[in-house]
Symmetry: C3
Subunit: 308 residues, 3 copies
């Protein structure tokens, strides 16, 4: 009878407490036209048939580490603790860059070459610990002679085993100093009523221009819905755009074809043309060479008047 | 002993009747180049790790509500009862359009802004009931200040909770009148032997031209395989194409490069060039401004002869 | 008490031995802009809610059977036994080509029209058996009148039932002779120190040029890292490129913008420009009309000297 109880309990446990299966989320610059991503999915599937495999995007422009960093920044915050991301934009594959697993303060893991991908995660949510992948152990069987596809042979293999609970974070490899390779970028700042920042990325599908200036700075500058803003956009040292825009609540606040400023889905100051493309219309691009300066025009005028 | 039996039964039930996990299917005009869709997937995953998340497409042309409506029309019929679709093509985000959940007569749910997305589902399979999402309850925690990404903060969040059984259809919000915002379109009609209709969409990948004229009308007009058809295509009031085509069974019925008429995968009358692009060759587009007129040429000639 | 034990055992079995759910992997030339792939996913989901559905790619260029064959070749090896692939690039839909299920020697299944898709799987991993789909039994209910979308009505339906264990391989249809429709292609050969082969495909995302010459032949020709190679590329009979390249270990072995030879992720000889596009720079394409000839330049020169 005691054995019976044990069996029942075991049975019960095996049912109600299934091995947790964490999500695996893939990002690459491979595109979706060929078989590379499918090979990665197959390797993960071979590790554990219970893994749930998702895509962040595979359309990072080839070799564009900055954009890979931004796409992680844009999405990791919406995934639950335990999710394992693989990000492979790896122009230095086979060279000396380190292969790492970073545990973020949110409990999410990122498996990636340490070449700048982690740049924007340092500020938020923050990196708790980084380990260097021990490739002697954490490498797909039979892949020793291959040296150009670490995404398949090392990264997704290690990430899948981590997500499936086959290995722990500690078993991925030795702890590194908590310091990552970081790409340079202009942080957002406020001086008097003037906000400065950069254009990290375009909202490509719609042609909207995103900045890295958060709503907190916008509030601090006293900017409110309905205010008129003066916007300057610079590429390196040349002024590409200067103009006035209303601070809108939604695109529908202005007529079709009109420009507006708004807070985007990451609560950063952004610029758009309602049902058009701000980026195309004014030939604005993105990256660290693209900077913006914004100030409330009404207050500016108000102040100028006061000074007279 | 009685307790034992209860435990065993509970254990049995928890195993053999797992909580049903319905499919969640996402459609947007966000494209797949950035992190927006991944943020939506993450929100859904955070609701329930057992949800199965699929894509309809994320490549609806920006703001093109009509095409979103058509893609739903093209695919909802193939998904089982209980599937929850999220469709976010939302140029009016933040404005007065309603956020709704529609239950179709097939038992499938659509979560979407009510801006025309539901147009083609009214006819088939029909809408059983519509509820307006109560955003006070059905909104991702911490998203109150965000107003530009309802897809992430309201729609996928509500859809995931509905698919996972966290909330019932009734709990999504108050019942609306069974009436949706509908986009205008020319329905298919038959007058004598002449069939008229519109070109709702192009089969873009191949350049085939699809109409909304169903096989039932084609049969009614007495058109059979091998018949020669006379086709006129109009854009607004101007004739863009006129020509004769055989009614074929398969593309292989005509030589490479030849035009043909056929019934497409939705059993609607369509036009193609075997291993070429009808749309490109004859500069044909799609939308409510594109109309077609088809009649059996043989019978036309036959009839003309009779009339002489 | 005996009944009790039986119940417990049944309960235990139902928990610890869930019906195996194999992966279903889809490949088409449908693109991802419309609802066709989603209709296929829905049909599979309707067969069994426990199926895991993945994508190989849907961006095979329209009607390009060769590329479909190559993408299978590139990825099937990374998926576990029992995985069922569906590959639909089917210009002859509705004509006489056979619908088949091939069981590979690796235990993976391919469901496809037998029109050349299986060409490269014959060599590796090899085909164990082929059956012709009996469409009288293996066809989605209510799809009898449709004849243009076998991918949805026959292939994915049969593949999903096979993956879910609803039908066995034997039940897909009658055994065929172990012989498939094969597309012509130039196999890789070595004559003296000269390696010849073709360019089966471009690594499109990066513009790298892949050949079908395996590392085994490269070794046999005595080519080692650091050697200089003489490469000739021909389109039909005309020489498109001739030049010298170093045999590199990784892209980082040469400066940005420099050409190199390397072994790709399938361990085939390939050519690239570090952080550039070899294919674009030298206008190189792919397919059976594109051939390459490679020889070690150092040894060539050495030998020439000897002959003097």
């Amino acid at each position: 009878m005691k054995y019976l109880l044990v069996i029942i309990l075991l049975s019960f446990i095996s049912c109600t407490s299934p091995k947790p299966h964490n999500a695996l989320v893939l990002q690459t610059d491979f595109g979706t036209k060929d078989g590379a991503v499918a090979a990665m999915r197959g390797v993960a599937r071979g590790v554990d048939a219970n893994l749930d495999i998702f895509d962040l995007t595979h359309e990072i422009p080839a070799y564009n580490i900055w954009e890979a960093a931004y796409r992680l920044h844009q999405s990791v915050g919406y995934w639950p603790t335990g999710t394992v991301f693989v990000s492979v934009v790896d122009p230095g594959v086979g060279s000396e860059r380190k292969s790492v697993v970073a545990r973020l303060k949110s409990g999410v893991f990122i498996v990636t070459p340490d070449n700048g991908t982690l740049t924007l995660l340092v500020e938020s949510p923050g990196i708790e610990a980084i380990r260097q992948i021990d490739e002697k152990i954490n490498r797909r069987q039979g892949s020793d002679s291959s040296y150009t596809f670490h995404g398949r042979d090392v990264y997704v293999y290690t990430a899948a085993r981590l997500a499936a609970g086959v290995i722990s974070f500690e078993e991925t490899g030795p702890l590194l100093q908590n310091k990552v390779v970081a790409l340079p970028y202009q942080k957002a700042v406020k001086e008097d009523a003037v906000l400065s920042g950069m254009i990290p990325v375009l909202d490509i599908q719609y042609g909207n221009v995103w900045t890295n200036i958060p709503d907190s700075l916008v509030s601090l500058a006293g900017i409110q819905r309905g205010d008129t803003l003066l916007l300057d956009v610079f590429h390196k040292d040349s002024l590409v755009f200067t103009g006035k825009l209303p601070m809108a609540h939604t695109f529908a606040d202005v007529a079709e074809g009109q420009s507006l400023a708004y807070l985007n889905s990451l609560m950063n100051l952004s610029f758009a043309v309602n049902q058009g493309s701000f980026a195309e219309k004014f030939k604005v691009g993105s990256g660290n060479e693209w900077r913006v300066k914004i100030q409330p025009f009404d207050k500016l005028r108000g102040r100028s008047t006061n000074l007279k």
